[in-house]
Subunit: 301 residues, 2 copies
């Protein structure tokens, strides 16, 4: 699973700082999370093939998380896209996108599906053979969800030493991968566990932005391999964080610690801070394995 | 009068090409025309003081001319603006902006006035002591206006050689500038024309984008000092221009010639053309005094 950061700053875009947007790549999937103004340019800069994006998850309807969506949809249309597009986001997102399409008389030549969200409880919003995506209801000034990506358990892996030794025919490998036992010509059963190895660990990622310190999410994100948690502020602006329902680096680290995650990634930085290393320093007092989101970087889970 | 080009490309923004947006500076005024996605970043790059922009004119509701407007308004709010903002644009613009403000619960802390347009005839939409702004109805796929800026005639200028020779008191200069005659102590009238010089020529600018070749505008833009006219295409794509209701460089030059303008500026280029000098070459066959819009440049009238 790869996480590519397109933008990880809060509030307003600048020449060198972009508002929230990131890509989650998992097997054949390329999910886009949030779409601040200028995301389409960031996607071009990172040479992302537009047609690979089939599902866009929008956390909330503040501008720094979704003002780039209508432009991206419009560009998809202008480039002649014919692949379906699914958009998951708060109730209201369909009305605002469709109103702009209507006013510009720029109807898409691809199918555009909206999945509007308004539940205050976690919901399964996407599932296929590869991955499950659940919402993580957060605590912000408007209705906001994080997203939890849980890779499904893969197939068992053939233990080649064993199958070769026992001369298992290749045509039986698929059954073995699916967990079935093997019956040989003498009608003797060989247990699956003696011919295969466990599947790779299935990976998980939780994206949590924007939110105040909100321990209610801990149970849902328990043990994820990577947690992206917003840290708009440092502790020196704790009151501002509290007032605007954002988090500090220390609060993000507390959540990471309570949820026993593998790694914490901090993002959604206020542009007021010149030295981002202070975020790491502050978080490390509570949780050791922490990295800063950096625009243009890809993080492998 | 200064025209600063923030973006002059069509359709979709790129890293190095921006969609339509420009500033018209005239005395105390700084008017913004159109606001494609990323305009707020372009304004920052050009170090424009946001609070100087009090009037924004939107030609039409295609994305490359207005998707940056909501982000700009939101940034004005985040920066604590307290100066009124007036927006002139096609009917529907208020609904789409207000819906987004409502959904994000981000009400402005400054007064926001919408002046919605739907007339198919030229309208006076702004007037003060300095300038008159009229719409120029254009011919495009959706309701579209250009904008005609006509500076008002200034005050007469004191002829210092004459007034000093005749010892006219300084306190009478204002009356002279306003065209009044002077009565001296012997009750003798000295005509204003003998004490003053004519005011500077009042300047005019016409912005025409997007539009098909549309000679109906010629009367309205007759003799303007500078005409910005879209030339999305070259003649080699004349049929595409005709189909999409855009113009070629030659068609823009024909309009400039018919209207006897001082200078023609070409813009709204399709990014398919690598060599922009071809636009100049094509236009010069019809009209000599032509320049290319270039992002970041300021053109003095």
């Amino acid at each position: 699973m790869n996480i590519k950061i397109l933008g990880c700053h809060s509030a307003t875009p600048r020449s060198n700082f972009h508002t929230t947007s990131q890509l989650v790549e998992l097997k054949n999937h390329l999910f886009l999370i949030d779409c601040g103004e200028g995301t389409q340019v960031r996607l071009r800069e990172e040479k992302v093939k537009f047609s690979r994006i089939k599902n866009i998850f929008i956390s909330h309807l503040h501008g720094d998380h979704f003002y780039g969506l209508i432009g991206l949809i419009n560009t998809f249309k202008l480039l002649g896209r014919n692949v379906d597009l699914n958009i998951y986001g708060p109730k209201g997102i369909k009305e605002v996108i469709m109103l702009q399409i209507k006013l510009s008389n720029s109807w898409t030549n691809f199918k555009l599906f909206f999945h509007e969200l308004n539940s205050s409880k976690p919901e399964l919003i996407f599932e296929d053979s590869v991955v499950r995506v659940n919402t993580i209801p957060l605590n912000h000034r408007v209705y906001t969800n994080g997203f939890h990506f849980q890779e499904k358990e893969g197939f068992r892996k053939i233990n080649f030493d064993k199958v070769k030794k026992l001369k298992i025919p290749i045509c039986d490998y698929e059954n073995l991968k699916n967990g079935k036992d093997f019956i040989n010509e003498e009608n003797k059963k060989i247990k699956n566990i003696d011919l295969t190895l466990p599947p790779d660990k299935s990976l998980s990622y939780a994206f949590c932005s924007d939110t105040a310190f909100y321990p209610q999410i801990v149970n849902q994100i328990k043990n994820v391999d990577l947690l992206y948690h917003e840290s708009t502020f440092l502790n020196e602006h704790k009151e501002l964080a509290s007032k605007t329902l954002h988090s500090t680096a220390e609060q993000a680290a507390k959540i990471a610690s309570l949820a026993n995650v593998g790694q914490l990634m901090l993002g959604h930085f206020s542009t007021r801070y010149k030295n981002k290393l202070l975020f790491i320093e502050e978080a490390k007092s509570r949780f050791e394995n922490v990295v800063l989101a950096k625009e243009g970087e890809t993080y492998k889970i």
